[in-house]
């Protein structure tokens, strides 16, 4: 029985990947107990006891490394913990930095190096694109309002205004752009990214790099229907050779280790790289559903096993997200509030 902690169990309108990861590893050929790492007692995953066996409230990563790691060590000592699969952008720098320390306490991860993590930051994207032979929309990283105005003038409308970790908005004029800029700065701080809008099909690839230039599977999808937050609600698997080739080039050029998501826009002859997320996307269960259980493969890699590498999937498989609800006793909520775990 392996004990695996997953974060991002906030299965809400802007869902974290945790529930999809938990669902995937529970469906695999390993016997696992899943621990949910939550930041709020209301995160739905805490109550989904058919997927998540026990949940723990975590201190915010912004409170510092020490209390965060202490919490993980507590879980390890009290309940046993073999592997952590972090799924939220905001906690990744901490996990990546602490992976050796975690490993010395017997908590395994399968994450990129700090260098790899920095490389795929939004501001560095043009470098990656060049390396793997992709195009990138003109991108300017700004750290002041003056730079922002300059960047807007250089790129022209429409353009995208993006936060360094989260949120992206399409602006059609200067007042819209300025409003988004101010929102992002007040919410996430600098830098802010100003980017050219390119037209084409928006397609994404999910995969797990093996850290040696190979991978444990890739699945490409297209979002067919999105929410007002841009989150996939219906999608379809695609087989776009150019995009899949680009994802493989990325993995091999940077020897990527761990889960990732490549966001791209594919026009007739070009693939534009939009973003590389250093973790699974929230729709990662889509890959599992078409036979490529990427979270399980990542788990196996973390445990030092040799995961499967086949990735033959069918194009035209549909992903359907839906809302659901269930009723439970208040006990668990009380326990989480009082004890920080349940």
């Amino acid at each position: 029985m392996y004990k695996v902690a997953v974060s991002g169990i906030n299965a809400v309108d802007n869902p974290g990947p945790g529930v999809g990861v938990a669902k995937s590893i529970k469906q695999g050929d390993l016997e696992v107990k899943v621990f949910g790492l939550a930041y709020d007692a209301m995160e739905p995953g805490i109550y989904m006891d058919w997927l998540i066996d026990r949940s723990f409230l975590m201190p915010y990563p912004s409170k510092g490394e020490e209390p965060f790691l202490q919490r993980l060590f507590y879980i390890k000592e009290r309940y046993g913990l073999d592997v952590v699969i972090p799924n939220l952008d905001a906690e990744l720098p901490l996990f990546i930095k602490a992976q050796k320390e975690l490993s010395s306490f017997g908590i395994k991860t399968f994450l990129p190096t700090e260098e790899q993590f920095k490389l795929r930051s939004k501001g560095e994207l043009p470098k990656i694109a060049e390396e793997v032979g992709l195009k990138v929309p003109k991108t300017i990283t700004v750290t002041s309002y003056e730079d922002f105005v300059k960047a807007v003038n250089e790129i022209g409308f429409p353009l995208m205004v993006k936060g360094v970790f989260y949120e992206a908005y399409k602006a059609f004029n200067i007042s819209q752009a300025t409003a988004y800029f101010n929102t992002l700065v007040s919410k996430w701080g600098y830098p802010v990214i100003v980017q050219e809008v390119v037209s084409g099909e928006e397609m994404n690839v999910v995969g797990v790099g093996d850290g040696e230039g190979g991978h444990f599977g890739l699945v490409a999808i297209k979002k067919l229907w999105i929410t007002s937050l841009g989150k996939i609600w219906t999608g379809i698997t695609v087989k776009n050779e150019k995009l899949l080739q680009a994802a493989q080039s990325f993995v091999s050029a940077f020897k990527w280790r761990g889960g990732f998501e490549v966001e791209s826009i594919v026009s007739e002859n070009e693939v534009y790289l939009i973003e590389i997320n250093p973790r699974f996307p929230a729709w990662v269960y889509f890959a599992t559903g078409v036979g490529i259980n990427l979270p399980l493969r990542l788990l196996k890699a973390a445990l030092g096993m040799e995961p499967e590498r086949d990735w033959e999937y069918e194009a035209g498989k549909l992903y359907v997200r839906f809302t659901d609800d269930f009723i439970t006793d208040m006990d668990k909520f009380q326990e989480v509030i009082v004890n920080g775990e349940a």
Binding site: E201, M203, I221, K222, L224, I236, T237, V238, K239, N240, E241, V266, E268, A315, G316
Partner: protein, 83 residues
Amino acid sequence: MGAIERLAISKNGFVFDPATGNSYTVNSTGLFILNLLREGKSEDEIVDALVENFEVSQEEARRDLLDFLEQLRVNGLLEASNV
């Protein structure tokens, strides 16, 4: 591989492009033409086949075929040089 070759075409006229994720519907005539295009038939051969199988004149068949091919091009399913 050209776009026409890679399409998944269902008998009920549902057409799926696995490279772009786009899907389309065609009527029975469109389906008939798509299948002939996949077999590599020329414009003239398709016009003849249309006249033979549907109650249309040569001119009408050609006009409709050109219109359909243009729609395929607009949707990126046919290159300008094809047919």
